[in-house]
């Protein structure tokens, strides 16, 4: 074995102090295999060393939460299924930012593959995919390539595995020029008595490897995702994994078939850090030890070393602990689906991870230090006041009056952040499964729970410019908007997953963003009974590749999940009928700080973001859900980016009917982004309590902008950009 030099330690992304801990815990120098294993387990990506301390403060409990953070995905109770058995929704969101910037198609595709495995590992059939995407300026020379690659990659993987991609969000901002964000979310449904966990137990139980063979791809992906980009990010292309959605589809079916039996003790997918993290996590959760014979690992090419096998991030692989004697039955299922199946080791009681290769022990590490003694940092952070002084969001000040609100509306509807995303979502199979009731073009996406009257409502949300200007209010707003979008279709918001994308945590201002957003999210989750059940942290999202140390905007992407008891009562945003009255719930204060109007019309990102009154948010959400349940309203849409007129224009375009407004409008009322608000329509003569009547459905324009012009503005952005 080679001598471990300080250079080798540094190449593995370990600090001197961290290496000293390894020497102390082992009582000797590690060999290269052992060093590699420590390096990936202690990477930011796997150990959450900068974030763990703060994540512990998030609310994770509610009576309907079956399993919170710590497993592969979060699990919530969604009532009875068609056979009267209890059912659960299992979901998580995860980032694949760094690989997607380097190689957009495969980066995004394997992001989808990875999150799918996190969900079906737990026994759920995946029923919906969503994606939260952030790109740089559309006129950045690389951006067209990145957007087309990411969208094709998400479609290429999701379409093939047969899970509908039903929603998500896409934003553009120069802060992502050198570091795009690709966050993928999967939601699955399982029977509550068939949920699978990852703790390896039962000394002597066989450890089984299934799925694809192990190749040399993706070695050190987790370490890569834990450092910021240097100038030559293309050099890291070989660390990006290559996905095979066809194998994933077979793996889903084979795993679910085996899960219907009683053969599995524990199961875990091989995601970041591959065989290392799956085997270490399974053994340490079970308080057990593990012995693997590396000669048994199915390999794609000859001559692979244990080091390569342990660090490979080849896709579409799972690790299972089976009950003894079940191997032949399990093997028959995997062979039927033409997948590899190999018993590669067993559970032990040594508390050590022991790897053998060619009859020799090539690794012997106590599991305690690997998983539990991983470093944890309380990194320095700026105070709220110091952060404000650093971020300088400035004042909105006097804003010019608008000469023509309709012209402003047209400009907003054609802007990159508000333009129709049809170009994107038409590349995704959104309907496979035959249960898609609504895409997230309006508010939440809605997918029926197969064979029942229930449906899941899902939405991804975050407004990064708010988070930058005020991390605490921005964190609150991200949760509140998910709550609002689910309420707007008639769903009861139940729980959220998150994907916390931030820049370098070693900078105190970035830590201030992180802790501020988390504090806001925590308060909002508590106030709205909307706990966080799973999540992922992606740090070091900054890049020198585009010149300057450009950090991304703080982007804590939220994936909310809610439940409709009866999907036939689901609300949509489209205006239904001429003559219906238009009502505004939540009033207006005309908050223009950080509004899209200020940015798109006047080129300024200024002011404080709109504050979120959590009590009002909850009250208005409950009112709207009650109205939908009573079928008192004909259309519902929340007010978010772009304010009231954009909301009305979206409802008008969806229904093909205009709006005639009775209210006096000024810029602040038209485009202010005050929170906790909805527009609803109701048949004439129906009073909507605690709401303000603002107009009538009818005509073919909104605030002087014709529907035809609005549609052209809305649909031309992507067409002109991508096909022009």
């Amino acid at each position: 074995m080679s001598q471990i030099t300080p250079e080798i330690v540094a190449e593995h992304g370990l600090s001197k102090d961290e290496y000293a801990i390894i020497l102390d815990r082992l009582g000797r120098e590690p060999n290269l295999v052992e060093l590699g294993i420590f390096s990936v387990m202690w990477s930011e990506h796997c150990s959450y060393k900068s974030s763990r301390l703060h994540l512990k403060k998030l609310p994770t409990q509610a009576p309907w939460v079956i399993c919170g953070p710590g497993e592969n995905a979060g699990v919530i109770d969604i009532g009875e299924g068609p056979d009267g058995k209890g059912q659960a929704a299992i979901f998580k969101m995860e980032s694949h930012n760094h690989p997607s910037y380097i190689e957009p198609y495969q980066g995004a595709a394997t992001g989808v593959g990875g999150i799918l495995r996190d969900v079906f590992t737990m026994g759920a059939r995946p029923v919906a995919n969503l994606n939260a995407l952030r790109f740089g300026r559309p006129d950045h020379p690389k951006m067209k390539h990145l957007v087309s690659g990411v969208v094709a990659g998400i479609g290429g993987y999701g379409n093939c595995v047969g899970v509908p991609t039903v929603g998500g969000e896409t934003n553009f901002h120069k802060a992502y020029d050198g570091n795009i964000l690709v966050n993928a979310m999967t939601v699955g449904v399982a029977d509550t008595d068939k949920i699978f966990y990852s703790a390896a137990t039962g000394v002597g139980n066989p450890i089984v490897y299934v799925g694809s063979k192990t190749g040399r791809d993706g070695i050190h992906g987790a370490t890569m995702a834990s450092a910021d980009f240097g100038e030559n990010s293309e050099e890291k292309r070989p660390t990006v994994q290559v996905g095979d959605p066809f194998t994933e589809k077979l793996l889903i079916e084979a795993c679910l078939e085996l899960m219907a039996t009683d053969a599995i003790v524990a199961i875990q997918d091989m995601g970041a850090a591959g065989l290392t993290s799956s085997s270490v996590e399974m053994a340490s959760k079970g308080g057990a030890g593990i012995r693997l014979n590396m000669n048994k690992v199915p390999c794609r090419e000859e001559g692979m070393t244990p080091y390569e096998m342990m660090l490979s991030e080849s896709q579409e692989r799972m690790l299972m602990v089976l009950k003894p004697g079940k191997e032949p039955m399990a093997e028959a299922i995997f062979r039927k689906w033409e997948l590899d199946f190999a018993v590669i080791g067993e559970v032990t009681d040594t508390g050590h991870m022991v790897l053998e290769f060619n009859g020799e022990v090539v690794c012997d590490i106590p599991l305690g230090p690997l998983a539990d003694d991983a470093p944890e940092y309380d990194r320095p952070s700026l105070s709220r006041e110091d952060y404000q002084a650093w971020a300088k969001p400035g004042e909105v000040g006097e804003v010019p009056a608008s000469a023509d609100l309709g012209a402003d509306l047209l400009k907003l509807m054609g802007s990159a952040d508000l333009a129709s995303r049809a170009w994107i979502w038409q590349q995704y199979d959104s309907q496979v499964g035959g249960d898609t009731l609504q895409l997230s073009g309006g508010d939440a996406a809605v997918v029926r729970v197969h064979g029942t009257h229930k449906a899941l409502a899902m939405s991804t949300d975050c407004t990064p410019r708010y988070c930058y200007a005020d991390p605490y209010e921005g964190g609150k707003q991200a949760i509140a908007e998910a709550y609002r979008n689910i309420s707007a279709v008639g769903g009861t918001p139940l729980a959220v997953t998150n994907c916390l994308n931030f820049a370098n945590p070693e900078r105190p201002e970035i830590m201030a963003q992180f802790t501020g957003c988390l504090a806001g999210m925590g308060d909002a989750c508590r106030a709205l009974d909307f706990p966080i059940v799973s999540g992922n942290v992606s740090l070091y999202n900054e890049s020198k590749a585009t010149g300057g140390g450009s950090a991304i905007l703080p982007t804590p992407a939220i994936g909310g999940v809610g439940l409709l008891d009866d999907y036939s009562k689901m609300a949509t945003i489209a205006f239904k009928k001429e003559g219906d009255a238009i009502w505004l719930i939540g009033g207006e204060t005309g908050h223009l700080g950080q509004s899209l109007w200020l940015r798109e019309l006047h080129g300024r990102e200024a002011g404080a973001p709109p504050p979120v009154d959590l009590a009002a948010e909850r009250k208005h959400g409950e009112e709207v859900r009650a109205l939908i349940k009573a079928q008192a309203v004909t259309a519902v849409h929340d007010i978010s980016d772009g304010g009231l007129l954009v909301t009305l224009a979206e409802m008008a375009l969806a229904g093909g009917i205009g709006a005639q407004l009775d209210m006096e409008l000024d810029v602040a009322k038209a485009f202010g982004e005050d929170q906790g608000r909805y527009v609803v329509t109701a048949p004439a003569g129906v009073e909507i309590p605690a709401a303000q009547r603002i107009g009538t459905v009818g005509g073919s324009s909104v605030a002087g902008a014709s529907l035809q012009a609005l549609r052209e503005a809305n649909e031309s952005f992507f067409k002109d950009w991508m096909e022009g």
Binding site: A152, G155, G156, N159, C160, V161, G162, D244, P245, F246, T247, K249, L250, K336, W337, E338, A422, W425, Q426, Q427, Y428, D429, S430, Q431, V432, G433, G434, D435, T436, L437, R448, Y567, S568
Partner: protein
């Protein structure tokens, strides 16, 4: 005698359950599920569906490997005996690769995957699959494919048109298909291949129920036969 409809599953099929749900919704009888590796089809089938998806990952060419799987020999024999065979999306690709239908399905002209509801015109309302529609009727049916650009040489296209074997045509620009052809019949009229998904349009909650009549007319023709 009750209806015996079968849905074939290839590795990578992903609309097999949806097809089985549609068949059961319309016929009232659960569909029989057939595995690609089965040497023989179940006896006395009234109807065979090849579903959408990505059989064998679309590797080589979409439908090419599935067309050579064990069960397809039996499907080809059944089709020659006159058993109705419906291939949707990847199933259509398999039927052309298996030689049961003429032509080929190339990459969409836009090069992109396309998923959306499209306007579909019924060209032939006399076949056992389309008797529930009237000629010229416009349907709202979803498409979801990357390789749906139908190609055949002019002589073949002329023959298909002349023999009334163009079942459906797109009534809008979709994927670059020759003469906007969306679905074709074999010479005997008992094999239909189409790119749009009628099984995704069987109830209004999903956005359209225009696909239902296709299954209804196929099943009715069998009951009346």
């Amino acid at each position: 005698m009750s209806f015996r409809g079968a849905v074939v599953t290839f590795p990578g099929s992903n609309c097999d359950r949806d097809m089985a749900v549609a068949l059961e919704a319309v016929s009232g009888v659960p569909a029989i599920r057939v595995w690609h590796g089965d040497a023989e089809l179940p006896a006395n089938l009234d109807f065979i569906a090849l579903p959408g998806g990505f059989s064998y990952g679309d590797y080589l060419r979409s439908g090419a490997m599935a067309a050579r799987s064990t069960v397809m020999q039996s499907v080809i024999e059944a089709a020659r005996r006159g058993v109705p065979v419906l291939g949707v999306c990847n199933g259509f690709q398999v039927l052309t690769e298996a030689g049961l239908l003429p032509g080929a399905l190339m990459r969409n002209a836009s090069q992109h995957f396309i998923c959306r509801n499209v306007k579909l015109k019924v060209e032939n309302s006399q076949s056992l699959f389309t008797a529930g529609y009237s000629a010229g009727q416009i349907l709202n049916i979803p498409v979801a494919h990357h390789d749906g650009n139908y190609f055949a040489d002019d002589a073949t296209l002329d023959r298909l048109e002349g023999e009334g074997r163009v079942a459906f045509r797109y009534a809008e620009t979709v994927n670059g298909s020759a003469r906007d052809i969306a679905g074709v019949l074999n010479e005997a009229g008992n094999v239909l291949g189409m790119m749009p998904h009628p099984e995704r349009a069987i109830e209004e909650a999903l956005g359209s129920s225009d696909g239902r009549a296709l299954f209804e007319s196929a099943i009715r023709s069998l009951v009346e036969a």
